[in-house]
């Protein structure tokens, strides 16, 4: 798996489209990241924290019932829902917060949509003694009240963002703006493989642990690689994390599942790669949902974590190169999978992850006992109780 070029591009995608005030901060971050990545002591601390604080490695689990009626294919879940704070997000916040300490930054800043990244940042900030400010759209604050309470219990300040669509897109705008005023002492912890270089690369490197573990576990348990790896894609960090373990295994098919909302033929979805076009948002060139005039569109997904008009630039690169295939699952299909999976397997998946699970069942019908489908179960569904 490759790093981006020196200007932060994966093929034609990525780069650094931000105001000048942030360029020096991104340069400083890139230098610190490069030094940390080359330092075994940094990785030792990261892995120790993942083991003791997050509970890694997360297990893999073979589903016995969920797709048994349609296929004999082994269907295996990578259990990121078992992580502390309930999702894959914390792999990344641990890495970035440790880097912030190394850089001597005194505060953490984060955007959040569903609140999972905000909670994961708040938890790590509390553990390391770094104050955390979280920016969250006013509409998301209403939709995800439980996570707001958790962030506050963990000592974070949650700021309501009332501009624009009042969701993740605008929370991200606001986080960039606040960072521009505090670049000297504040580390901006971005929650997905998006943003200006080096964020998409750095976040992938911190989420790569998912794929590295899953590859080793699948080989140990089943003596072979998966035929297919499936993950949901909003910004795309859980997908890039698990894909990273298999990108160089050319025989393994990679599937990214976008939020089809009420159908990708209409306007109410969040399928940037399937129904969007190339543009610039939040600091990088990638696919996004936009009007003909280049205004970023409002999106819809029942899952707040996928409700985002952009997508990480490396996913755009994988789409163009054909290394991964992107599909969509609608709200209704995701809800059906959420309920079906809970009843068949005794696991409540996050609505985001339910998109990947729904597609896995579709794909299972075309696979047999010699294949193996691996799904990233990226988070647990407690936060979604009562919403579907």
């Amino acid at each position: 798996m490759r790093a981006p070029d020196s200007r932060g591009y994966f093929g034609d995608f990525g780069g650094r489209y931000v105001p000048e005030v942030l360029i020096a901060a991104l340069d400083e971050l890139e230098r610190a990241m490069t030094a940390a990545f080359a330092d075994p002591a940094f990785w030792a601390e990261y892995h120790a924290t993942l083991r003791d604080f997050v509970g890694r490695p997360s297990p893999i689990y073979r589903c016995e019932r969920y797709a048994a009626d349609v296929s004999s294919v082994p269907l295996v879940m990578k259990r990121e829902d078992t992580n502390h704070t309930g999702a894959h997000k914390i792999n990344n916040t641990v890495g970035q917060a440790l880097l912030a300490l190394r850089m001597g930054k005194r505060r953490l800043l984060a955007e959040t949509g569903a609140g999972q990244h905000g909670v994961a940042t708040a938890a790590v900030g509390a553990k390391l003694g770094l104050p955390v400010d979280v920016y969250m759209g006013a509409r998301d604050i209403e939709r995800q009240a439980l996570n707001v309470d958790v962030m506050q219990l963990l000592g974070a300040q949650v700021h309501a963002v009332t501009s624009g669509t009042q969701t993740l897109k605008d929370a991200t705008n606001e986080a960039f703006r606040v960072w521009a005023g505090r670049v000297e002492d504040t580390f901006y912890v971005i929650g997905s493989v998006v943003g200006a270089h080096p964020y998409p690369f750095m976040v992938r490197e911190f989420q790569k642990i998912i794929g590295i573990e899953a590859r080793r576990q699948t080989l140990e348990r089943y003596g072979r690689l998966p035929s297919d790896v499936i993950a949901c894609v909003g910004g795309g960090s859980n997908a890039m994390g698990i894909f990273a373990g298999f990108v160089d295994d050319r025989e393994v098919k990679l599937w990214g599942v976008e939020a089809g909302g009420k159908g990708v033929d209409g306007d109410e979805h969040a399928a940037s790669l399937l129904a969007g076009s190339i543009g610039v948002l939040h600091g990088s060139r990638s696919y996004l949902l936009q009007s003909a005039e280049g205004q970023v569109r409002e999106t819809h997904s029942i899952s707040a974590g996928l409700d985002y008009p952009g997508v990480g630039p490396e996913h755009a690169f994988f789409k163009e190169s054909g290394r991964a295939t992107y599909v969509n699952i609608t709200d209704a299909q995701a809800v059906e999978a959420f309920h079906g999976f809970a009843r068949c397997e005794g696991i409540l998946p996050a609505l985001e992850s339910a998109h990947a699970i729904a597609f896995a069942r579709e794909l299972a019908a075309q696979r047999g006992a010699d294949d193996l489908i691996l799904v990233n179960l990226s988070g647990r569904g407690d936060k979604d109780i009562g919403r579907c």
Partner: protein, 263 residues
């Protein structure tokens, strides 16, 4: 066109005045009235803001003005049409636009049509030096300027490279953060920045972000060549339209223009 405006200000031994207006806030008729009022009042150059859904460099005032303008369906095409309509009655125009609307319009086509509309240049705040090569070349091919921004956080060697690549003028950001009248410029570091830029470039230095009151204008001092006022100007006519807005603008800019440092 820009050179002429700065030469005139220098000849008159004063700083140039560059107001910023969000086009279509709240409608095109108001913008046109405001543009003409600003030109009559003595604006040397006018920055025309192109509405954008996600303005990363802007604070609440300009972001909200952009939202109002989008509600009146103002996009790049409408901005170019307005500039063309006003071209003979108005101070030289520089667009202030984020990159994505330009990218969707087509970079070459943007440069061509902006030139045809009589526009003098374009400031693109999310295209810093490193990503600016293609856009700069396209604009230059049409005789348009592309001023680049220098921030307080910009290291000195980089500031020299930016000043070297900028055309029209160098836009010196007066403090960390985004646009808005809420925080005044950070004058001590600003003056150091201006002094060090002055040593390496003869290009005009325009100071913006947070310049909102006559005392800010005075405090920028003679190391700069121009001041940019945006958010405070937008606030001055919020809630009014057309000629009523123009009257508010005339009242608002008179003391600012009177406060322009004179050598």
């Amino acid at each position: 066109m820009l050179d002429g405006a700065f030469v005139r200000a220098r000849r008159e031994k004063r700083l140039a005045f560059i107001p910023y207006v969000m086009v279509g806030d709240p409608d095109l008729e108001t913008t046109e009235a405001v543009l003409l009022a600003l030109s009559d009042a003595g604006a040397d150059v006018i920055e025309l803001g192109v509405p954008y859904s996600d303005p990363l460099a802007d604070g609440p005032t300009i972001a909200a003005a952009g939202q109002r303008a989008l509600r009146s369906a103002t996009h790049l095409r409408e901005v170019l049409a307005l500039a063309w309509r006003c071209r003979e009655r108005c101070a030289p125009i520089v667009l202030f636009t984020y990159y994505n609307p330009v990218y969707q319009f087509g970079v070459e086509r943007f440069a061509r049509e902006a030139a045809a509309a009589g526009i003098a240049g374009a400031i693109v705040p999310d295209v810093a030096l490193d990503e600016s090569v293609e856009l700069r070349a396209a604009l230059q091919a049409q005789g348009l300027a592309m001023p680049l921004l220098v921030a307080p956080s910009t290291p000195q060697q980089r500031a020299v490279r930016i000043a070297d690549a900028a055309t029209g003028f160098v836009y010196v950001v007066s403090r960390l953060g985004v646009t808005g009248a809420g925080y005044a410029p950070d004058f001590a570091p600003l003056h150091r920045q201006l002094a060090s830029l002055r040593e390496v470039t003869n290009k005009p230095l325009a100071v913006g972000f947070g310049v909102s009151r006559p005392q800010d204008v005075r405090n920028v001092g003679l190391l700069a060549d121009a001041i940019v006022v945006g958010s405070a100007l937008i606030d001055s006519y919020a809630g009014t339209r057309a000629q009523a807005a123009a009257a508010r603008v005339r009242d608002f800019v008179a003391p600012l223009i009177a406060a322009l440092p004179v050598s």
